[in-house]
């Protein structure tokens, strides 16, 4: 086990969506093997013992797959390392004595619920608008009756690994959700099963995305750089192409 570390934490505190928020400063004793969220556990336990209100933050699986954790750490969603979520970040990525500023995802489309916790239901509504294949249970043919090349399957899988955490939106200066939408559109447009609804899907999803109040993409690439699943920027190009094609066909 590593040496103990002292961290100066500046954490965004906000009672609820409507309330004004502000930063609070805390000192936490931690060690390099602790995960970032475990450090928050330690802080919260400390706060509870002192009779203070613990910091609310979202987290669940703590292994980088559920997409629930969501902290902007020193200006970067999920912290300083690439390809991981907040829960996979360990204190060994920081130095003893560091000051760390922790904020929630910030975007109009992701209103703050409390402290570091935000409401990402906009993503669900986008999926609900078209991020599916309309196949009722029981309609399927044998799984091997449609062959899909390994290359296509792998590429579709890569896009499908999106965990819907919203780091893309959080990192984007325009609070754009196009990496998220692009990932789902890419996955389903590549696979044969996604073909029948290919055009209606992309239009419906983009319309919903716009209605939710996400910004427009200006191709800075920040989303892909911060994506914990390293979804490539090419999914946005796919999204654009799919959308224009659908529009050309009058969808």
């Amino acid at each position: 086990m590593g040496q103990s570390m002292r961290i100066n934490l500046q954490v965004w505190r906000q009672r609820n969506e409507k309330a004004q928020g502000q930063f609070e400063t805390y000192n936490v004793e931690t060690n390099p093997d602790m995960s970032f969220l475990e450090m928050f556990d330690v802080l919260n336990e400390q706060l509870i013992e002192e009779g203070k209100e613990p910091v609310a933050f979202d987290h669940d699986c703590r292994e980088g797959i559920c997409g629930m954790c969501s902290m902007v750490i020193n200006g970067r969603p999920h912290g300083p390392k690439q390809g991981i979520t907040t829960c996979q970040l360990h204190m060994r990525s920081f130095q003893n004595g560091d000051t760390i500023v922790v904020e929630p995802w910030r975007a109009n489309a992701f209103p703050v619920v409390k402290d570091l916790s935000v409401n990402r239901s906009a993503f669900d509504r986008i999926i609900s608008a078209g991020g599916f294949v309309s196949v009722n249970t029981g309609n399927a043919v044998d799984a091997n009756s449609v062959l899909i090349s390994k290359e296509v399957a792998d590429e579709a899988f890569e896009a499908a690994t999106c965990i819907g955490c919203g780091a893309c939106v959080s990192a984007c200066k325009n609070a754009s959700a196009m990496l998220f939408v692009g990932a789902k559109v890419s996955q389903l447009s590549m696979l044969p099963q996604g073909q029948p609804e290919r055009e209606t899907r992309v239009v419906a999803m983009v319309n919903q995305m716009d209605a939710e109040g996400f910004g427009a993409c200006t191709n800075t690439g920040a989303c892909a750089a911060e994506c914990p699943k390293q979804i490539p920027l090419s999914v946005i190009a796919n999204l654009n192409r799919e959308f224009y094609k659908a529009k050309l066909n009058g969808k």
């Binding site: 086990m1 009672r15 609820n16 060690n31 093997d33 602790m34 475990e38 556990d41 919260n44 336990e45 706060l47 509870i48 013992e49 203070k52 209100e53 613990p54 609310a56 669940d60 699986c61 703590r62 292994e63 980088g64 797959i65 559920c66 997409g67 629930m68 390809g83 991981i84 996979q88 360990h90 060994r92 619920v113 409390k114 916790s117 239901s121 669900d124 999926i127 609900s128 599916f132 294949v133 309309s134 196949v135 249970t137 029981g138 399927a140 799984a143 091997n144 899909i148 090349s149 390994k150 399957a153 792998d154 579709a156 899988f157 499908a160 690994t161 965990i163 996955q187 696979l191 099963q193």
Partner: protein, 659 residues
């Protein structure tokens, strides 16, 4: 009440088919007037909610996470079994049925398991149709791999993220129904009471976790798809929020709890590193396809693993179980690791770990194949190792990255250190063949029910069961109940049963907030976990279990005196949510110990030290315990045991051997 498992008549091959053809149906016009509540949106919940909505029922779905897509099914890594026999290696419905029964150490219900094996193939078809990107071969067909406890390749997978891909498939089907208005989705809602009227489940009280408001929801039927209770051990591979609350409330409302002590300890998890640890991370069982498990032959050997020569390593699984080697079922692999560590052969700083080493297969299996593919003649070991690493990376890259992230060690260079951890609970709400609990109209699906896995679940079978229950079982079996409910008008939620349930829930919340003690909820949870792990974990004995029961009682008493739950009831208050969950774990823990104490045999994941063979294997007592233990709640911390005797008509019960 006598337990009636409602197993249909007929031969095992015909039961499900005949059931489906003779079960009463609900006509489409009537379905529109029937409300179904689905609690939990993991594989079982999402697939059930979507399918029932497709059929025309009005569905309300609830999850405590901020989105249904976050349910912990998402974290399943390795794969999903199906008796497709795509590999032409002799697989069949019967073999999957047989393997699952045997894997469960002959403590599962034959008819259910056979049905599971039958529908397994439909699951794969359905998922592919939804656009789930399973791994494929170059020719475009689906790829398979091996999992523990089987000798065929029947596991379908999507890298190390199979659960994620399957859940996103079910989630998209669910969201489609949300968009169509057939499902009303309530995220960040936690079910905290079941409402029963005239003995039937008629709704739930849910807490809106953002506003803190208690809400009343009516349903003609209530489906609990709320997963397992492994978090009673505090440290487990479950998500932080995974809890027993919904199932426990159902239990207290009359649903029997089946085999609560049957817990799966997964052999390959990253070892605990410190007291602050909040959860344990699984390394997929699929790694045992290519990783060899060993410890040094010398006790307390502190040499670097790469410096320990081949002849000084003990590949204890290969030694003890030559037929299955590293691919023995989970309970056996876990126990074997514990045995070695307890005997002083453990490795790493805590000495509570064993090595999972890929080097041999990197060189000999993949390196050589790749070298001959590329036409490299007489490659040296370093070349083979490099070639092999590439292949391993392709197969398990994300798992290796995850390991490195957590431990700061590079598993491509140094063997992984692993140790068993709580992973899954075979126990759960007792259900009949139709997945109904002992409360009419209240169903339990997926890990939440006492399940088809007996005393030990085989790898890649949880995903199979969750989706089988949701997509292919409940849509038929629920008709048998709802067809008799078509005349029941929706009951207004100002009915006194709702009043009472809400009052009870509100009182409990206020009670937590008013204790105003000193200790955090977390600290009680941690302490409970330690008791459970030490005394009701991988190995149990009468003395320990009795101690555990009194320790849990004392801890519970202290909890209600000294816990501190900050904040108020009418706001987003995760500590309050946690308090309710931990309070339920404090009751469940006791029942688990009582169950373990009453089962005087060893089977599967339940290993009573008093009952073992000379070689240290589990010693079943089929005379006395060929039965499901179903516990009825009789008021505060009182239970009555009911037994469902298991009849094996198709499989000959044997001592389980993987040697």
């Amino acid at each position: 009440m006598k337990l009636d498992s409602k197993i249909p008549q007929g031969s095992i091959n015909e039961k499900w088919t005949q059931y489906k053809s003779s079960v009463p149906l609900v006509n489409p016009a009537n379905k529109r007037h029937l409300n179904v509540i689905v609690v939990g949106t993991g594989l079982a919940g999402a697939s059930a909610a979507a399918t029932l909505a497709e059929m025309g029922y009005k569905v309300s779905a609830f999850c405590f996470q901020d989105s249904p897509r976050r349910a912990h099914s998402i974290a399943a890594q390795g794969g999903i079994n199906a008796a497709k026999n795509y590999q032409n290696d002799g697989d069949s419905v019967y073999r999957l049925f047989y393997d699952t029964i045997k894997g469960g150490d002959y403590r599962a219900r034959e008819a259910n398991v056979h049905r599971l094996a039958e529908v397994s193939t439909n699951i794969i078809d359905q998922c592919v149709a939804q656009g789930v990107p399973f791994a494929r071969e170059y020719g475009g067909t689906l790829s398979n791999r091996s999992f523990g406890g089987t000798q065929v390749q029947r596991t379908f997978y999507a890298a190390g993220q199979t659960g994620q891909q399957l859940l996103l498939g079910a989630y998209s089907a669910l969201e489609r129904q949300v968009g169509l208005g057939n499902v009303k989705m309530y995220a960040r809602h936690e079910m905290i009471e079941v409402v029963t009227i005239d003995g039937k489940a008629r709704g739930i009280i849910a807490r809106n976790l953002i506003s803190g408001q208690l809400e009343r929801h009516f349903g003609h039927a209530v489906l609990l798809c709320t997963g397992g209770y492994g978090n009673v051990f505090y440290l487990s591979t479950n998500a932080m929020g995974s809890n027993v609350t919904a199932a426990w409330k159902a239990h207290k409302a009359g649903a029997y709890f089946g085999n609560p002590c049957f817990t799966q300890i997964h052999p390959t998890c990253i070892p605990v590193s410190g007291h602050y640890q909040s959860k344990l991370t699984l390394m997929s069982e699929s790694l045992r396809n290519d990783g060899r498990i060993w410890v040094p032959k010398k006790q307390g050997d502190t040499r670097h693993p790469n410096d320990i020569p081949e002849e000084e390593r003990d590949y204890y699984l290969e030694r003890r179980y030559p037929a299955f080697g590293n691919l023995v079922p989970r309970d056996i692999a876990s126990r074997a690791a514990k045995e070695r560590c307890d005997a002083g052969y453990g490795v790493g700083p805590s000495k509570m770990a064993v090595y999972l080493d890929f080097k041999y297969n990197m060189i000999n299996k993949y390196g050589r194949a790749e070298a001959s593919k590329r036409g490299i003649a007489n490659p040296d070991e370093a070349t083979l190792l490099e070639l092999g690493k590439e292949i391993i990376k392709g197969q398990y890259g994300n798992l290796f990255d995850m390991y490195k992230q957590i431990t700061d060690e590079n598993p491509y260079e140094v063997p992984m250190r692993i140790y068993p951890a709580v992973h899954y609970t075979m126990g759960g709400l007792w259900v009949d063949y139709e997945l109904m609990t002992t409360v009419p109209g209240l169903y339990a699906l997926g890990e939440a029910n006492f399940s088809d896995h007996g005393a030990n679940r085989l790898g890649a079978s949880a995903l199979m069961q969750g989706l089988a229950d949701g997509y292919f079982v409940i849509p038929y079996t629920i008709g048998n109940y709802l067809s008799k409910e078509i005349h029941t008008k929706p009951i207004p939620t100002d009915h006194e049963a709702f009043d009472q349930a809400e009052k009870k829930a509100a009182e409990r919340i206020n009670m937590f907030l008013n204790i105003n003690g000193k200790r955090s909820v977390e600290s009680y949870h941690r302490e409970l976990g330690k008791i459970m792990w030490d005394k009701c974990g991988m190995a149990r004995n009468e003395k320990g279990l009795n101690e555990a029961i009194s320790e849990i009682r004392a801890l519970r008493e202290d909890f209600y005196k000294n816990v501190r739950v900050p904040g108020t009831a009418d706001e987003f208050n995760p500590e309050l949510d946690k308090a309710g969950r931990v309070a339920d774990f404090l009751e469940l823990g006791e029942l688990m110990c009582i169950d373990a104490l009453n089962r005087n045999e060893s089977c599967g994941g339940h290993f009573r030290e008093e009952f073992q063979t000379e070689e240290g294997e589990a010693l079943r007592d089929d005379e006395k315990y060929l039965a499901v233990f179903a516990w009825e709640s009789k008021g505060e911390n009182q239970w009555e045991l009911h037994r469902e005797e298991l009849n094996y008509e198709n499989i000959k019960i044997q001592q389980r051997s993987y040697k």
